[in-house]
Amino acid sequence: MNKIGIFGIILLSLVFHTTNAQTYIKGILLSSDESPIQGASIQIERSKSLTFSDHEGRFEIRTGNLKDSLYIRHLNYHPIKVAISAFKDTVLKIYLSPLDQNLDEVVISSGYMSIPKERITGSFEKVDQKLASRSTSGNILRRLEGVSSLYFDSRSGTSGISLRGRSTIMGDANPLIIVDGFIFDGDPNSVNPNDVKSITLLKDAAAASIWGARASNGVIVIETNKGRLNQEPQIDFTSTFTAGQRPDLYYDPILESPEFIEVERFLFGKGFYNSSLNNQRFPVVSPVVELLNAQRLGMLSNQEVEKRLTVLSNQDVRKDIDRYFYRNRIIQQYALSYRGGSSMYTYNISAGWDGNQEELKANSNSRLTLMIATTFKLIKNLTIETQVAYSSSKKNRNNSVSEISPTGKSLYPYATLADETGNPLPLEKDYRMAFLDTVGKGRLLDWSYRPIEEMNLADNTSELQNLRMNVSARYTFLKNFNIEIRYQNESQHDGKRQHYSEATYTARNLINRYTSYSSNGLTYAVPRGGILDLSNERSISHNGRGQLNYNINWRKIHNLTAIAGSEIRQVHRGGNITRTYGYNDKTLVFGNVNYTDLFPIYHNLSASQRIPNPNDFTDQMYRFVSFYANTAYTLYNRYSFSFSSRKDASNLFGVNHNQKGTPLWSSGLGWDISKEAFYKVKRIEYLKARISYGFSGNVDNTMSALTTVAYYSNAPLSGYDYAMVRNPGNPDLRWERSGMLNAGVDFSLVRNLLSGTLEFYQRNGTDLIGQAPIDPTTGVNANASFLYKGNVAHMKGYGIDADLHLKLVLGKVYWESDLIFGYAKSKITRYLASSTVASAYVNLGMTVSPVIDKPVYSIFSYKWAGLDPATGDPRGYVEGKPSTNYTAILSGDPATLKYHGSALPTIFGAYRNTFTIKRLSVSANLLYKLNYYFRKSSINYSSLMSNWKGHKDYTKRWQQPGDETFTNVPSLIYPNNGNRDVFYSGSEVLVERGDHVRLKDINISYQLSKFRIYGMIDNLGIIWRANHSGLDPDFFNGGIPTATSFSIGFKTTF
């Protein structure tokens, strides 16, 4: 644990004792502040005998050959060879240079104060630059996956990260991000990972008591590079090139063309499409239905229809989609930095550029980052620091594969996007193709939709700029005091531009719809020309802080660090969306529209409508005032005590002034047992125990005690402004409260062979804000689902975090093995007003299913009684008997449901092995997620019929009596029963274990003196899974697993 060195100066003192032919060499490794260096390996070159320095830096080794040399190695320093003869009977000082100039004593920074890790009582986890640069991702948070205890929920449709599971039900579960001492309001993507010096995770109650209510899910403290006083100028240059494979579109279990056509023919025969075919509004019908209709009307012969259907059934649109919409992903990253310092000032200047050609054709993004950080020591007691960081991220979003399907439907699998020669072909979008062919009579703009053309015409760009400036002054006085004033201004501007030229379908469709024809000719309510949508979002935050620091180290017995301060913070967000019709990008002319009147829609395709007006404005202002105090006291370098507390007040709406703030606190004790005189366990060189407890609160700022309404413009018909209830007043609204206990040990044993941290935590949340169904008769309609939000739940959570490092030298191979282990369990202990209907609890595990004594996210299912042998109907249980009364099953007692388990892994983490042979290092990282369940998708006949969304399970459906012995897929029936689909989708036969192990990456690097070259293979895929369906549990319900990518790059320092 104690691999400590200050500025890389190592004092090596060796004392020789000679006995017989053997020589004992004894020594101590110390750093400049006389703290010992632990865990260095000392090897005699020829005899290969080996030892390690202990926690006091001592080592002892025996040699028979005085001409031999010592080879001293430490993970963080350049290895050094020392001839034994060179210091016979003398004390030799050897200066080692650290591998990384930034290497510091392991100091934990909470963002407000930094203290050595030995004095910590709470749960802090540090990820250093080396570990964070193992991954080549351009996103700093992504780089933490697999190297920290941060959990990434990568199930389709989610992108949350969390520390120690969920502590909240409704609220945002993402940890708070701090960059250089202030809350970061911007997009985490605008931080260049190459600028990051270290990352600290705050996991226990101290997070909130230090950073306030918003930090109750933990905090990620990011510190960027700075220059150091008296540092030689240093230039770093990094470049990485990444190429990614195309995603496997065939992973998606769609219903393929022959079966899809079979279903369409079946439905056609039943008259399912009659109302669409007769509809004067001409809704989309598929080519197969169109063919069958032509056959029915006698317009096509039976042979001709069969011939065409055969052609269609041999087509697979995924081939075209892959060909025309996807490509290999290519990323380039470059980063350059220059830093150094004199006795008066320091500087760090860096620049980075990333370019990403995305796997979706015509989509790309790039990022430019610039940063300048300086420190001036103006007079003896006054230090001024300044920092300016700028980033600009540009995006092109022109790929249109997500819009390829007809509105409200999935694309039929036999579609073709281009003919043999590659000419784009039209697809159905909003109306029936046969109608579009004749409707215009040459008067209208072409009304067909050609997906490939749309991609080439698309002109959608965005730029996100983030500028962060901060300045701080620190004045030292009375020896142990200093006062610090800091100010930061962060502004972010996100500008989006979507230009639909007149050639695009979006513009043509809108113009055509609002065209009217009379004897006088055509009139265009939506003017000819393009449509330009501009949106701007601005956020400006001001942060000010005044802080008094006190630091005393008295006779090396008492060591006290105390800070107190206050903080003021304002975040102002504003935005607008504007649309311009009739826009011409070449001449910048534009047209006028009438937003007030109703216009008839061409060919009576719908009732008269107004011209769409998406204009919108937003203006939000959040203010916070906080007071805080933190202290850390250590006695005899052994006993540590810490206390922190904070009170936040904000301009929360609809809450009385005195209810706007709440005090948060945490306190902890630490005890370095191995420093005690009585401690005699030789094998465990270092052992520290610590415990902390704290109390935090949180409030959902979308809620208030008073009824609030939100204003909207242009009510339909009247055009009046109107107000909608945003938040039904809840006089009983209280703060969420949560207490967290954390107990841990840090240890290192057998000469640092194994070191690590073990932590146990328990969390008790009361009055958590959740949604509860409310009697619709009250009329309260939050989010249109008759749920109300309130303090409805109590929750208990506990878990174990472990972080183990094994270091071994096997001959020439240096082996490091790192295990990150997380165990997190939570259960709801009380929930007011839960739903009494079974179906309210059956979901995909991404929404809350509140059941007492069960996790917040759980998988419940309907019990399965097999398929009905006579009909192939899926059966559940009603009053203990097999039944097909789906209404009764769905609305049954929730207690009849089968509980599988948590929908989130309760055991998760990473296992990383690194082998270093001289300068070559190879490392592989496994991610594991265990002990959870997921619900896989299957055929849903309602979706198949109405939305054309099929599933290959259709081919396994029950077709005749006897099939029920080998399949659980229900038969196809007509008319369909929607509840039958709901039951089957939620039944236990579709629940699988989610446990899996994934080979996240393999990393190879080779270190030359000032030059490191590395290669990386990312996302190698699953190597073990519990489910037998071959599914990736992160992509079980639509979505395609991330493809493997390959990177190569180098870093040089000179």
């Binding site: 008259g271 206050s566 009576n604 301009n651 709406f653 018909l717 009329g779």
Partner: protein
């Protein structure tokens, strides 16, 4: 130094209050003045989404078996066949939508009564309160048509009405009142509205006094109180009585009637299930046969489907979404019916003639002057059916006319070879309350 810290802290604390009183979002308010209360009542929810399943269960249309089979929701399928399981598939249904309107109205009524919404102008206050009372009354009335038995003076004090939620506080529990109490409450609300509302308003999405009077007439007709219904329809017609001459309309339009047209007193629409759209909705032959060839409504109300059947395009909403607001034409029909029931045949004929003149080619008014009283009543009721179709009124008319043996009717549906019937005294004239409501509130099911 310590003094400096104290000073800094004190300054911060002192200015803290003002600093934190800034509104976090300019779009958000806690309603406190009349303008804000009016904005709540401007919400379009008061103009859309009134209970529509009565229309699904009514007899002015039929579905082809294939279309019934292909229907999107179980609610539509079941309501069409008068099966009881209609409102259980989704919490977003006729019950909850209507109680949401009551909640919004109660927000304003509570706010003004409890003094959290204040202002200086009593005229404005009265008008706002009047609107809120109107909306609440109309919502209670709509609910009673679906979820309670039809008014019967012999049992109204025992028949189950609807929960009368008179406050926005969702912690208050309310059980079901009797049908009598329910109507008493909504009539009280409506009389308040009549007294408080402005005579005219700026937009027909907002009720004015005429709207309250017209609704009062509708309610009293439902109750069979023809005297009161006549008084209120008369009072309403003295404010404005202009009808649209259908000769001036263009029947080739997809929807010949513009929203908020001249005849509309107050605009609202039904929660219109998809099967009531063209072309699945097919007008029953029995209804089509009632129209003479001179009747302009034949071409203005009905859309020709490609299979020879007809769908409906006559909504005063100018779309497939059905209008169920108040109109001048309804007032004429209420008035005519009340007159004949009160024995004033001549005046009844005159009233009917005014309406018919606006509906027939060349403004023919063809009511013979030699009709018997009972034939005249039948004629007026037939005229009512021809004029006020797909306005959510037919269901109530079926319920009230079933009480009169001559008008009572057995409804029939055919799906495949199966026939379903609803007898005049059938239980299914009262819809089941959604099961989730029953479970959560503990109120009695029908």
């Amino acid at each position: 130094m310590r003094n400096l810290i104290y000073f800094l802290l004190a300054t911060l604390l002192f200015s803290c209050r003002e600093y934190l009183d800034v509104k976090p979002d300019k779009k958000l308010v806690v309603p406190s003045d009349f303008l804000e209360a009016q904005s709540i009542l401007n919400h379009y929810l008061f103009n859309i989404g009134y209970p529509g399943f009565g229309e699904v269960a009514s007899d002015d249309y039929y579905l082809e078996t294939t279309d019934w089979q292909a229907a999107g929701t179980i609610a539509e399928k079941n309501a069409y066949l008068w099966n009881p399981d209609v409102f259980n598939a989704s919490p977003r249904n006729d019950w909850s939508f209507t109680y949401e309107k009551i909640y919004y109205a109660n927000l304003v009524i509570d706010g003004i009564e409890q003094g959290s919404i204040t202002g200086s102008c009593d005229l404005v206050k009265n008008d706002i309160l009047g609107q809120a009372y109107f909306f609440r009354a109309n919502s209670f009335y709509s609910l009673l048509q679906l979820f309670s038995k039809h008014w019967d003076s012999t049992s109204a004090s025992k028949d189950l009405g609807v929960p009368l939620r008179l406050t926005a506080d969702f912690n208050v529990k309310v059980g079901r009142s009797s049908v009598e109490e329910s109507y008493n409450q909504l009539i009280r609300d409506l009389s308040n509205a009549v007294n408080l509302l402005n005579e005219t308003t700026t937009a027909k999405t907002r009720p004015d006094r005429q709207a309250a009077l017209a609704l009062m007439a509708r309610v009293f007709l439902t109750l069979g109180n023809y005297k009161e219904a006549l008084i209120y329809s008369d009072r309403a017609l003295t404010i404005r009585n202009e009808l649209t001459d259908y000769n001036e309309l263009n029947a080739t339009l997809a929807f010949p009637f513009a929203p908020l047209n001249k005849e509309v007193i107050w605009h609202s629409t039904l929660n219109t299930p998809r099967i009531l759209y063209a072309p699945t909705l097919k007008i029953s032959k029995e209804l089509l046969d009632l129209y003479s060839q001179e009747d302009l409504r034949l071409s203005l109300f009905f859309l020709d489907n490609s299979d020879g059947s007809k769908s409906f395009k006559g909504s005063y909403n100018g779309s497939s979404v059905l209008f169920n607001g108040l109109s001048i034409s309804e007032l004429y029909l209420i008035k005519a019916e009340c007159l004949v029931r009160l024995g004033l045949e001549e005046q009844a004929k005159e009233t009917l003639d005014i309406l018919r003149a606006h509906r027939m080619k060349n403004n023919l008014n063809s009511v013979s002057s030699k009709l018997e009283s009972s034939d005249l009543l039948e004629l007026i009721i037939m005229e009512r059916r021809k004029e006020l179709l797909f306005r959510g009124l037919r269901w109530t008319d079926l319920r009230r006319l079933n009480k009169i043996p001559e008008f009572a009717k057995v409804l029939e549906r055919k799906i495949g070879n199966e026939t379903f019937t609803l007898r005049p005294d059938g239980d299914r004239y009262v819809f089941k309350i959604p099961e989730d409501v029953i479970r959560m509130s503990g109120i009695e099911q029908n």
